[in-house]
């Protein structure tokens, strides 16, 4: 009933004019995007310093810094446009999923060869993106085999250069946002010709982020009922799988609330929907989705996934149209 009422309200034209939209984009750029990338850059700086101070895999400071920086990355990982796409920076920060096991293979070959590329940050950016970023560092900190493979001195250099590369990438993204892309997104021009196009980019970031969390963060470990794949969970080695879902939902809720601000009824529906998903995630007594192999465990993860899909449906049916996004059968298909 409430849902019907909201749909009826939304059928009325969105009252926002160009200056309202401009104000909304400005707020999102400042409070969601720049804040997020600022935090990422400061956390990656701490990570780099921690690696320089103590590169051993069991260093509590290093592990804590890695967790903090990874949280900051997950919180902006849905913003896949502009500076994060330049020079494949986002991929170099986060190469996952890795269905063919390229990350451990690439790390092993660097360690086996004692590849001197770890001595230069400039050269290290030519290394396969699978051997860079947060997921590569997870192998070096938490995987029993990779974290003890080969020569300890070389591994130490590898940890330090990956941390430095992460930090350089995070700063490059932040710098581009501050120097140019914040204005590109805010002020209509060559890349976004109108406020509507900028809002559509942000809407796409929201829906793609929701889809990634539902289909990939949850879908990959779920596998099929006949063949659950718990070892495909994201960052299970460090116990972060469920945590990453919660961090991403929190960031996506922030964006959804901002994008629906002119329609408080819709913001309320988003808040309720995200609240439900976050509660389900918190109640899941299964940090790495190991229980997807049992019927009960699988059922709970499925319920969490369904609750996220409900938010996706709400975004497609009620938010997209207010932002001028085509919601047709084929427009949404992607095939």
């Amino acid at each position: 009933m409430l849902r019907m009422l909201v749909i009826l309200i939304l059928l009325a034209p969105w009252p926002a004019n160009a200056s309202d939209k401009y104000a909304m984009i400005k707020t999102i750029v400042r409070d969601h995007i720049l804040d997020g990338f600022n935090l990422l850059a400061s956390e990656t700086h701490v990570l780099k310093q921690a690696a320089d101070a103590n590169c051993s895999a069991d260093s509590a400071e290093l592990r804590a810094a890695w967790h903090q920086a990874f949280d900051a990355w997950i919180s902006v990982s849905h913003l896949r446009f502009g500076p994060s796409e330049t020079n494949d920076r986002a991929f170099a920060l986060a190469f996952w999923p890795d269905p063919r096991g390229t990350t451990p293979r690439s790390l092993q070959s660097l360690i086996d060869d004692q590849d001197a590329i770890v001595n230069s940050l400039a050269e290290f950016s030519d290394v396969s993106i699978a051997a860079r970023g947060f997921y590569a560092l997870e192998f070096l900190l938490y995987d029993p085999r990779i974290s003890t493979l080969g020569d300890a001195t070389y591994r130490c250099k590898l940890v330090q250069i990956i941390a430095a590369d992460i930090d350089a990438n995070a700063h490059a993204i932040l710098t581009d946002w501050i120097d140019s892309y914040a204005a590109e997104l805010r002020d209509p021009g060559d890349i976004y010709r109108s406020e509507d196009e900028a809002l559509q980019e942000l809407f796409k970031a929201l829906t793609a982020g929701l889809q990634f969390t539902s289909d990939t963060r949850l879908g990959r470990p779920m596998g099929s009922a006949e063949r659950p794949r718990p070892k495909r969970a994201e960052a299970w080695r460090s116990g972060r799988s469920r945590h990453n879902v919660a961090v991403s939902l929190t960031a996506l809720e922030d964006l959804a609330i901002m994008l629906s601000a002119p329609t408080p009824e819709l913001s309320t529906l988003f808040a309720t929907g995200f609240d439900k998903s976050l509660k389900k995630a918190a109640q899941l007594d299964d940090p790495v989705f190991a229980n997807v192999a049992t019927p009960v465990g699988r059922f709970r993860v499925e319920a969490l996934q369904q609750s996220i899909n409900d938010i996706r449906a709400l975004a497609a049916s009620d938010l997209g149209p207010t932002l001028g996004v085509a919601a047709g059968f084929n427009a949404l298909d992607g095939d």
Binding site: R220, A326, G328, F329, N330, A331, G334, D335
Partner: protein, 357 residues
């Protein structure tokens, strides 16, 4: 016309029609998958005036179909990562058999027959290996699975027969997916699509790709002209700060010729082409842009932009007369070119492709 349409709509909605009664209404000219008003999915046979001759319920969303060159028969495919294909008797409108993809494979939604109609080829995903395959089925023996071979890349989508030869052209879109993760793209950072020419035993005859800066441009859809030119439709997988060409034309042995509408119109495509077709007379080619709600037409000789047509949620397209016929998610079937003479609105949502029989 209107009465008949309303009558059909009622029948579609009620689902009470015995399909065999459509045997006397003549052969369909087109096939298309659709979503019905009650959210069920169907395949529809459509005549040259845009009327629905029959519809066949299917268990899930459909995609495209392949027409048998001799018999009044077609194979309609599930949308990826679907695992079924329906064999349809186009004279009676009945489903005569249903194919299942082998274990460890799923269909991508497209297929093609050999010119004698004895063999069916299907694009498939060997999803554990992340490699594209072409499935080979014996259409003389109740569609027994007889072989398979490599498609020449990852994510093969549309496949077509080359005219006057026993060879196929395959759009290897380059995107690795696994049914466990739905439709999530697993290799966007390393994707590398190509266009592959293969003989019927899987020998790679020729392969062409796009320039390096376009390796994120997934080559997805094809049409082949009577003289063997291949038109390709792309889907850009990166953000909008660059908006490369989405349409190309290839002659074997040459590089791909790319074409683009004027910038403002080009950007209306939102980096995404739904289907591509040569006009009935082969002089033009056109793409549907469902995200931008338009159809863009190009000259097939000069590669110059000819014109754009607003068409909300347009996706299926095929050559028709001197122009094209287009299907949309809004239910509209319409002609483009030569006077735009036909526009029929059906109470359903047409799915991706419109296949000429």
């Amino acid at each position: 016309m209107v009465n008949r349409r309303g009558f059909l709509a009622g029948l579609l909605a009620s689902g009470l029609v015995p399909v065999s009664t459509w045997a006397d209404v003549g052969s369909p000219s087109f096939l298309a998958a659709a979503r019905l008003p009650d959210d069920r999915f169907a395949l529809c046979g459509i005549d040259a005036a845009g009327m629905i001759l029959f519809h066949i319920p299917i268990p899930a969303r459909g995609h495209a179909a392949a027409a048998h060159p001799v018999r009044a028969e077609a194979v309609a495919f599930a949308r990826r990562p679907g695992t079924f294909a329906s064999i349809i008797n186009c004279a009676s409108g009945e489903e005569t058999a249903r194919l299942a993809s082998p274990k460890g494979r799923h269909f991508y939604g497209h297929g093609a027959f050999s010119s004698d109609g004895e063999t069916l080829f299907t694009t498939e995903n060997d999803y554990e290996a992340g490699q594209g395959r072409i499935g080979v089925w014996d259409a003389t023996q109740g569609y027994a699975r007889i072989a398979e071979f490599a498609s020449g890349g990852i994510g093969p989508h549309e496949v077509r027969l080359l005219p006057d030869s026993d060879a196929l052209v395959v759009a290897n879109g380059g995107i690795d997916t696994h049914p466990d993760s739905g439709r999530t793209k697993l290799n966007l950072s390393t994707m590398h699509p190509n266009l592959s020419y293969l003989d019927f035993s899987g020998t790679l005859l020729d392969q062409v790709d796009l320039p390096d800066d376009l390796r994120s441009n997934s080559i997805r859809h094809l049409d082949v002209s009577h003289d063997g030119q291949v038109a390709i439709g792309m889907q850009w997988q990166r953000d909008r700060s660059s908006s490369p060409a989405l349409v190309g034309l290839h002659n074997r042995g040459d590089a791909v010729d790319l074409m683009k509408a004027p910038l403002n119109l080009h950007r209306q495509a939102f980096g995404y082409v739904g289907s591509i077709a040569f006009s009935g007379n082969g002089k033009q080619l056109a793409v549907t842009c469902p995200r931008g709600g338009c159809v863009q037409v190009f000259d097939a000789v000069t590669c110059e932009f000819v014109g754009g047509h607003g068409s909300p949620d347009a996706s299926g397209i095929t050559g028709f007369g001197d122009g094209f016929i287009v299907s949309s998610g809004t239910g509209i079937l319409r002609t483009i070119g030569e006077g735009d003479t036909m526009s029929v609105n059906h109470p359903l949502e047409w799915d991706n492709h419109l296949v000429r029989l």
